[in-house]
C-alpha cells in the first residue's frame, strides 16, 4: 500500500516539467501548425482566415524563402565542415601533449574562450574588424603586399558577407568542439597506438584505422549537433543586417521567420516557414540516426 502511494510521488516530481513542456513546447508547436494554415495579420483584429496550404505554396514559390533556404544551406555547410574537421585536427594535437596536462588545459581554455563571449558581442567585435578601415583589410593587404589598399568588402559583397558570418561562427565554436573531441579522444587507450607504432604504422594510418572508428560516437554526435546549430543561426546575421549589410545573401531561415512576423506582421507565413524548418531538422536527424545505427564499432 505504502509502496503504491509512494509511487505517486513520481508524478509529483515530474509534474512541473510536464506542465512546462505541455504549455511552452507542445502548445506552441501545435499552434504553429494550426497558424500556418491560416492567414492572420498580427496587427489586425480580424479573426484568422483558414486558407489551407496557401501559405506553404506561397513560400515555396517565392524567391524570398527559396533564397533563405539557399542562404541557410550555404552557411550551414560552409561552416560546419571546417568546424568539425579543424576542431578534430586541433584536438588530436592537444591530446598528443599527453605529458603536459597543464599545457593541455591552457590551450583548451584559450580555444574555448570565444564561446564565453556572447553572440552579439562577437558579432560587434568582428563588425569592426571587417569594417573597410579595420584589421581584416589591413592585414590581408599587408600579406598580399598590395601597393594601394584594397577593400575586400567583407560586409558588402554577398560572397564576402557569407564568408564573414561563417568566420565568426567558426571562431566562436571551434574551441567548443575541440573540447568535445578531446574528451572522446582521451578515452581511447594509448596502448592501441603503441602497438600500432611498433607495427610501423604512420600517423595517417593510426588516425584512420584507430582514432576515427573508435571516435565514431563522438563524431556522429558532433556532426548532428554542429549541423543543426548552424542551421539555426540567428544573432550574427541579425547584427549584420542591422548594421547595413545586404540582407539577401545572409537571410537565413530564422532571420526570415523573425522579419516576416515582427516587421511584415504575417503570422501565417512566418509559422509556415518555422514549421518547414522543424520538418527539415526532424527528417535530417532521423535519417542521420538511421545511418549511424547501421554502423557500430567497438574495440573489444
Amino acid at each position: 500500500m505504502a509502496f503504491q502511494r509512494r509511487q505517486y510521488w513520481g508524478w509529483i516530481f515530474v509534474l512541473p516539467a510536464v506542465l512546462f513542456f505541455a504549455l511552452f513546447s507542445y502548445f506552441p508547436i501545435i499552434n504553429s501548425f494550426i497558424a500556418s494554415f491560416h492567414a492572420k495579420d498580427i496587427l489586425s483584429l480580424k479573426a484568422p482566415k483558414f486558407i489551407g496550404f496557401q501559405n506553404y505554396i506561397y513560400i515555396f514559390t517565392s524567391k524570398d524563402f527559396l533564397n533563405s533556404i539557399k542562404a541557410t544551406l550555404y552557411f550551414a555547410v560552409g561552416c560546419f565542415i571546417p568546424l568539425v574537421s579543424v576542431s578534430l585536427f586541433m584536438a588530436t594535437i592537444v591530446v598528443s601533449l599527453r605529458r603536459f596536462p597543464k599545457v593541455q588545459n591552457v590551450f583548451k581554455m584559450i580555444y574555448y574562450s570565444p564561446a564565453i563571449v556572447s553572440g552579439v558581442v562577437s558579432a560587434t567585435i568582428w563588425l569592426l574588424i571587417f569594417d573597410p578601415r579595420g584589421l581584416a583589410n589591413q592585414w590581408l593587404n599587408f600579406l598580399a603586399n598590395n601597393p594601394t589598399p584594397v577593400d575586400f568588402k567583407w560586409l558588402a559583397l554577398p560572397a564576402m558577407a557569407r564568408l564573414s558570418t561563417i568566420i565568426i561562427y567558426f571562431w566562436k565554436y571551434v574551441g567548443y568542439f575541440v573540447i568535445i573531441y578531446f574528451a572522446g579522444l582521451v578515452s581511447i587507450p594509448t596502448s592501441l597506438y603503441e602497438v600500432a607504432e611498433i607495427d610501423g604504422a604512420s600517423a595517417w594510418k593510426k588516425f584512420w584505422r584507430i582514432t576515427v572508428p573508435l571516435l565514431k560516437p563522438t563524431i556522429e554526435f558532433v556532426l548532428i549537433v554542429a549541423f543543426i546549430q548552424c542551421i539555426r543561426t540567428f544573432s550574427i546575421q541579425y547584427v549584420f543586417v542591422q548594421s547595413g549589410s545586404p540582407r539577401e545573401p545572409i537571410n537565413v531561415v530564422s532571420l526570415n521567420i523573425y522579419t516576416t512576423a515582427m516587421q511584415y506582421h504575417s503570422l501565417g507565413r512566418s509559422t509556415a516557414m518555422s514549421v518547414s524548418l522543424f520538418c527539415f531538422i526532424l527528417i535530417f536527424t532521423i535519417v542521420q540516426l538511421r545511418i549511424y545505427r547501421s554502423e557500430r564499432v567497438s574495440y573489444v
Partner: protein, 429 residues
C-alpha cells in the same frame, strides 16, 4: 430540478453582473490617463513635456505619461504592444510605417468635434495641400501632423573652399553635377574612402530614391496597383547611376559606410554633404554650434533631362490615436495632440520641425528661419511618400535592387527584372 434552477440563478447573476460592470465608459470630465509613445529627439522632448504640463494644468482631469524609444526600434515596440492589446493611446512613426495601422483599423479617424473643425476638408484647407496625404484613407484623416518633412542637401562650406569651390555657386543642381562635385570633395586612401563628398540616405529608399525615379518618369507600381513597374528604362537608368556612384564605379560612397547624416554634424572630415531635413539644422545648433556658420542648404537636385521636376518625397510623422482606447481617452488624446500640433511656430523655431499650416507661412518666425524657404519651395513640387500596406516589404526590395548594383555587381537591367519579380511576389500575398 435543483440543477436547472441553480443554472438559471447563475445565468441571471452573470447577466446582471455584466450589465453592472460594463460601465458606459469614462465620462468626459472624469479622470483620464493618457500614454504617449514617441521617438527620441532631444530637441523636441523638453518642448512636448512643457506642453504636457500646460495641458494638464488647463485640464486637471487628464494625466499624461510620455515614453521615448530610439527611432529604429519604435515600430516593433508599438507592433507588439498593439498585438497584445496594450498599445499606447497616442503614438507616432514615419507615415509609411503608420499606414498599416490605418488599414488594419487600429487607429481612430480624427475627432473633428474635439478639435473644432466642421469637416476633413476644412482641416486640410488650413495647411499646404500635401500635408495630410500620408494619413488620408477612404476620405477620412487619421492623424495630426507632428512634422511634415522633405529633404534638401546640406553643405559643409569649409570643405568646399578647401578644394577651391564656392559653396554659394558651385553646388550641384543636377544629379549629374552631384557626381562631379562630390568627386572633387572626396578624399581616398587607395580604395577606402576617408571623406565622402556626398552620400545618400540609405535605408530610406521610398523617401529619397523613388523621387529620383519619378524625376526620370518611373513609378513603383502600375496604375491599378496590381503589379510592379520597376522594370522600365527610367529605373534601369537610375540603377546605372547608383552603380556608377558605388564601390564598383566611381567609388563615391556605399551603404556600408556610416550614414552621412550621422557624422555630418561633427564636422570631422568624414563627409562633405548630406541629405536631410530642416530639423538637422537645429540639431547641429544643439550639438556643434561652432560649425553652424559653415553650413548651407541647397535644393534637392534634379536629373538634367527630368520628366518631372519633383523634389525629394515628403514624409511625415502623424500623431495617431489608438482605436481601442476608451472613448473619453480618445477624445482627450485628440485634444492633446491638436495642442501639440498647433504650436507650429515653436516647432519650427526651436526644433526645425515643419508643420506646414498656412498660418505658419505668414509668421515672422518662418520668414526669419534660415533656409526654411529652401525646403518649402521644394515641398511645393513634391509628392507624399508612397503609402501602401506592403510598404516596408517593397522598400526592402528597393534596398536589394540598389545594393545589388552597388555592391554585388548585378547589372542594372537584371536588378530591375529581379525587383519586378519580387514586388509582384509581394503583391500576390
Amino acid at each position: 430540478m435543483k440543477l436547472v434552477s441553480m443554472l438559471l440563478v447563475a445565468a441571471l447573476l452573470l447577466a446582471g453582473g455584466t450589465l453592472l460592470l460594463a460601465s458606459p465608459g469614462q465620462e468626459p470630465t472624469g479622470p483620464v490617463e493618457l500614454i504617449q509613445w514617441t521617438h527620441e529627439d532631444p530637441n523636441r522632448t523638453p518642448l512636448e513635456e512643457k506642453w504636457i504640463a500646460e495641458f494638464q494644468q488647463q485640464n486637471p482631469n487628464v494625466t499624461v505619461t510620455r515614453e521615448t524609444s530610439p527611432s529604429g526600434k519604435i515600430q516593433e515596440k508599438v507592433l507588439t504592444a498593439f498585438a497584445a492589446m496594450k498599445g499606447p493611446d497616442i503614438f507616432n512613426m514615419e507615415a509609411e510605417d503608420e499606414w498599416q495601422y490605418i488599414v488594419g483599423e487600429r487607429v481612430a479617424p480624427v475627432d473633428l468635434d474635439a478639435i473644432g473643425y466642421s469637416s476633413y476638408k476644412a482641416l486640410q484647407n488650413d495647411y499646404l495641400p500635401v500635408t495630410f496625404d500620408g494619413a488620408l484613407y477612404e476620405g477620412k484623416i487619421y492623424g495630426l501632423p507632428l512634422e511634415i518633412t522633405n529633404w534638401c542637401i546640406y553643405l559643409n562650406d569649409k570643405y568646399y573652399r578647401e578644394v577651391g569651390l564656392d559653396p554659394a555657386r558651385d553646388y550641384p543642381k543636377t544629379w549629374e553635377q552631384m557626381i562631379t562635385v562630390a568627386e572633387k570633395l572626396t578624399l581616398r586612401e587607395g580604395e577606402v574612402i576617408k571623406r565622402r563628398g556626398f552620400d545618400f540616405r540609405y535605408p530610406y529608399y521610398l523617401s529619397f530614391w523613388v523621387p529620383m525615379a519619378n524625376q526620370l518618369g518611373g513609378k513603383v507600381l502600375s496604375a491599378d496597383g496590381k503589379s510592379a513597374a520597376v522594370n522600365s528604362s527610367a529605373w534601369i537608368k537610375l540603377l546605372q547611376y547608383m552603380a556608377d556612384w558605388g564601390p564598383n564605379g566611381r567609388n563615391l560612397g556605399s551603404p556600408t559606410y556610416t550614414n552621412a547624416r550621422k557624422t555630418f554634424n561633427r564636422d570631422d572630415g568624414s563627409v562633405a554633404m548630406c541629405i536631410s531635413g530642416l530639423y538637422q539644422y537645429d540639431r547641429i545648433k544643439a550639438e556643434n554650434e561652432a560649425f553652424l556658420p559653415e553650413v548651407s542648404i541647397v535644393p534637392y537636385p534634379r536629373f538634367k533631362d527630368a520628366v518631372n521636376k519633383n523634389g525629394s518625397a515628403v514624409y511625415g510623422h502623424y500623431y495617431m490615436v489608438n482605436a481601442s482606447s476608451s472613448p473619453a481617452a480618445q477624445l482627450w488624446a485628440w485634444k492633446l495632440t491638436m495642442y501639440f500640433s498647433s504650436h507650429v511656430e515653436e516647432m519650427l523655431d526651436q526644433i526645425g520641425l515643419t508643420i506646414p499650416s498656412k498660418k505658419l507661412l505668414e509668421t515672422a518666425v518662418y520668414k526669419n528661419k534660415k533656409f526654411a524657404d529652401v525646403f518649402i519651395e521644394d515641398m511645393a513640387t513634391a509628392k507624399f511618400v508612397m503609402t501602401h500596406e506592403k510598404g516596408p516589404q517593397i522598400q526592402d526590395v528597393l534596398k536589394e535592387m540598389v545594393e545589388g548594383v552597388m555592391l554585388s555587381n548585378v547589372a542594372p537591367a537584371e536588378a530591375a527584372r529581379r525587383g519586378q519579380e519580387k514586388i509582384d511576389d509581394i503583391l500576390r500575398q
